[in-house]
Structures are given as C-alpha cells and as structure tokens.
Symmetry: C2
C-alpha cells in the first residue's frame, strides 16, 4: 500500500495548520526538566507533560484537530470511534466543544475510570465484547446509522494533531538531540516523526515487551495480522496502524522495548522526582531512556509524557507502594 504525503499522511505544513486550528482549546502543556531525574537517568530529559493536557492525555490534540477539520470541510453530524481509553474521552470533549455528539464503542471490561471520563465529557458509551471483531462490528453499525468514524490513530488528521506536542517541545527546547515517545497504535510517534523531520533530532519509540507488535512487524517488513498483548500499559495494546507503520519505517531511528517491571519502577521514579502520577503507558519513555545509556547518556532528550489517567489507588496497587516514600 502506498500513501500520498499531504493527503493520506500529513506533512509538516499539516502539523503547523493543526496547531493553529487547535491552540485555543488545547492546553500549552509545560516542559519540565528536573536535575534529580537527570542524575538518575544520566542525560538531560525535557518532559513534555501531556499528562497535564485536557482529558489527561495528548489524545485531545488529535481529536480536536479531526473535529475542527470536519467543520472546515462542511461535514455535519455525530462522530464515532472505538477506544478503551484516552481517545474516547478526548473525542467526547472535542465533539462537545464543537456542539457535536460523540459515540464511543468501549469493551465491556474497560476501566470504570475511563468509562466515567467519556461520560463526564458528554460522550455516549456503546459497550461491546472485548474482541477486535465485536468492536469493529459495533462501530460499523454506528457508521451505517450515519455517524462519522474517527480512527484513534490511522487517520491523517489525528496524526497531524498528535504531532503538535513535538512542535511545541521543539519551540521551547530547540537544542534537543533526541526525542522519545511511547508506541501503541502509532499516532503519537508518527506525528512526532513528521513534526521533527526538518529539525534533525533522532526519534525513538518505546513499546512494552508484551505489546511489541511493531518490533515484530518491522522485522517482517509488514504489519502482523494479530497480536495478543500482555502488558500493564493499557494505552499501548493496539496493533500499529498502516499510515503509522509507514512513517515509523521511514522516520523513526529505533523501536525499543521495556518490561512491565521497568514501567512499575519508573512510575515510582518519576513520581519521586516530579510529584506527577503517570499511567504505565507514559512510563515507557522513562524506562526506555533508563535502560539504554548507550543511546541516551549525556544527550539532551525530549520525552513526551503521554498521559496521567490512572487513579491514585490504581497507581498504588500497580506499583506496590506502601505509605513510605522510596
């Protein structure tokens, strides 16, 4: 399959346009460097805190851009997607702010916090069985009813929106040498790679060992048909998208993997230094940098901290923390 840049896949101009389109509604998130964290990791790390983005994740950027593009194209009506998590909440809020209705297909075993978030932002939840097939069927039914499907990552407008986080990071810290993002379906990393291409930084993506479908796909030269994920990083269980895979093949320096234990440890490390709770998916970037000094030591590294949607109680349970600080 081939893609035409600027139409099927966004280019840097699309990311600048996306930024202009969404910047009034998307939060300009802080970039935080902490000398104590640097000391622990052996590099200078600039954290773009998308965990502090509205809806608690970078997903609100892509969703806002996709919704705004509909209006520009004169497309009316409700939107629909499938998501077990952050994309659903993000699309719900972006739709609500634009006066549209969002319908979110969610597996019936989704976390109560994420179901609640979709509803709080005005989204309509449609439960399905927790299988790819059931999810696709339920979404197809909504599309048949006239709704506009917004894919969580294999969508040019979504990719362009996600790329705006790296654009802001570049504007704030122009001297970065490397940039690191989590990798699930690939929306964030593909947007980041496109946003930073002319900038000359090396882009690294981090997958959980238990959801390393992209590493396998890169080895094979084509996307795996199916993959049974097994990781605590619930935001990264999806199989990489077609557009996203294409960008990763051509624009990402390396895909690294980290274990669930790495994620638990770096969630605690990150909290102890920055006083921020991050979800396991976000901890991939900290773990990836920590595990690969041969790549990152001594460098100026940008890290997209993708989301903070985990309850404190779940964080405590997952990391096994007691009431005493480590």
């Amino acid at each position: 399959m081939s893609f035409e840049p600027g139409r099927d896949i966004p280019d840097i101009a699309d990311i600048h346009l996306a930024h202009a389109r969404i910047q009034d509604q998307v939060r300009l998130t802080p970039v935080i460097n902490d000398p104590g964290l640097d000391e622990a990791l052996g590099c200078k790390l600039y954290c773009k805190c998308e965990n502090l983005q509205r809806t608690g994740a970078f997903k609100f950027r892509g969703a806002s851009n996709a919704i705004a593009r509909l209006a520009e194209d004169g497309v009316e009506g409700s939107v629909a997607t499938h998501s077990s998590g952050n994309h659903g909440a993000a699309l719900a809020l972006a739709a609500k702010l634009a006066g549209r209705t969002a319908h979110i297909v969610m597996p019936e075993n989704s976390s109560p916090m994420k179901i609640e978030a979709v509803r709080r932002f005005g989204g309509h939840v449609h439960f399905c069985a927790p299988t790819d097939r059931s999810r696709a069927e339920e979404l197809e039914r909504l599309v048949q009813d006239g709704m506009i499907a917004i894919h969580p990552y294999d969508n040019a407008d979504i990719i362009a929106g996600q790329g705006t986080a790296a654009l802001e990071l570049e504007q704030e810290v122009p001297t970065l040498e490397q940039i690191v993002t989590p990798l699930g379906g690939g929306g964030l990393v593909s947007g980041t790679a496109i946003a930073t291409r002319a900038w000359g930084v090396s882009v690294y993506a981090i997958e959980p060992e238990g959801a390393a479908d992209t590493v396998v796909s890169l080895q094979r030269g084509e996307i795996v048909d199916s993959y049974e994920p097994d990781t605590i990083a619930d935001g990264l269980r999806a199989i990489v998208g077609r557009r996203n895979f294409h960008v990763i093949q051509t624009g990402v320096k390396q895909v690294l993997t980290v274990s669930d234990d790495d994620l638990r440890e770096t969630m605690v490390l990150f909290w102890s230094k920055l006083k921020l709770l991050i979800e396991p998916s976000s901890a991939t970037v900290i773990a990836g940098v920590r595990n690969h000094p041969e790549i990152f030591a001594g460098k100026k590294v940008g890290a997209i901290i993708s989301g903070g949607n985990i309850t404190p109680a779940d964080w405590v349970a997952l990391t096994g923390q007691s009431t005493e600080c480590t």
Copy 2:
C-alpha cells in the same frame, strides 16, 4: 513591635531582586486553568503549580533566596532551621547547590517521606521531641555551634523569595482580580501581599479550621501565645510569624477558614480535573474558593498551589478513595 520596610520586611523591590537572584535555580512553574474545574468552582481559576516546584513546594523559593543573600553578604558557614516538612527539604537543597551544609531540626514523629526528602537533598537531620520548646532548644544549640539560623517564615529574605511565585503569576496572567494562598506561618501570604500590592488584586488567605490561630490573632489584634493545631494540613500548623502578621494585618483582604473534610473533598476534585495530587495544605485554596461564591463567583482568581509532598498511598488513605474514580 514595629518593622522597617525594606529591612525587616521586604518591599516590592526586594521581591524583584529575589527573583533575579533565584531564577536560574528555581523552576518557572506552570500556571494551569481548567475549564472543568472552573465549572465546578464558578469562577476562572489560574493555578500557579508550586507543587511542581523543585523539592515539591514553593518553599524552595524562599530558601534559595535566603542562601543566596548569605553569599552576597559574605557570610560563610552552615545553615540550620527547624521544620517538620517542606522548608527543611528546600533549605537542604538550596544549601547543597551553594556548597553549604544544612542542619534540619525535625520532630521525631515527622513523616518518613519528609525525613527522607531532607536526607536525599543532603541535609543533616537532628531529631527532637515534638514540642515547640524542644525544637527551639535544639536549634539554639546548633546556633551556639556557629550555624546560621534561617527561620521558615519570619525572615525578610524568606518572605521575599516566597513572593516571587505571585510575581510570576502576575506576569503570566496580568488581569487577575483576586489571589488566594494557604496560610500557616504566613511566609507565602505575606510575600504574595507585598508582591501584588501595586497590582491592585485582593489577597485572600485560607487557614484550616483546626489551625486558625491567625483568625484568632486578628480578632485580638495580637498574635496568640500558643495554639494546639488539629488538622490534616500538616504544612499549616505553625503559629503566624511577627513580620507575617504585620503584613497580613495591612495587606490581606480577609482570612477564611475551611474544614478538614473540605480539604479531603477538594483534593479529590483537584485530582479528578487536573490529574495532580496535592497535599492537604494546598487544597485550602480550592476549598476556600469553593465555599465562598459570594467572594469569588465570576472572578478571575489566582491560586497558589503550594505543594505536592504527599505519597499516593497517603493521599488514597486520607481521601478514602477506592480504585474507582469519583
């Protein structure tokens, strides 16, 4: 007792000088507005996130300024203070960065997290019995040994440093009408009142009901001799300082009180909207604004979010949260 502005009590010029002195080592913390939180509170709230300051609290500002002033005055040697919490960790780090040693007198029942923080930043911990007298005696012993005492709040350099948070907030959101801070010993609110005097905003301070010594002192016209605090806001149990009380009498519009239940509820509210864990002392400002719509409704309000030094496990225990989001 009378104070001479510019010597005993800082003026606005001292706060600008403090800012110039410390800005390379103090983090320019983000100011976050969240439409969802605004909706819950009925005003536009601009949160100056000092919970994301180095050492996890605004206290690092005052400590950095006090340490830098010593060098300017040619004073050498180790510093000492008494603190059950954030000032101790802040002074330890500020001293370490300046190549000095800090000695922190802490009650033997201090939280393990706060003891650990002082030590992590290179401070020497001296335990004492948990009484005012024991604390003062132990500090006096250190001063007799030649150490320089840095009072946590009743100190002009500390007040000037704490005022830099409001200065930054003013520069970022010049159209604020009101500003709200927690009130314990009064370092933060007195610095804030001085920093914002020419700006024309109304300053409000919030005390826990169980540590409302300043409200009582204002009624009497003089500082109470003793007060037995009973509140979960461990950072606000101190009796207001002399310099601080003087500034509060002349420069603070009103001191409001909130209950511990208010603090628990607003810690959860703040987390649910902003994905930030704050310690009970910080929640005072959110609770104060929520409880007083007759003062704050419809206004543009600045809130100094003072600190985030609470473990996730303690946060969960204190707020009684289950694994499901509210």
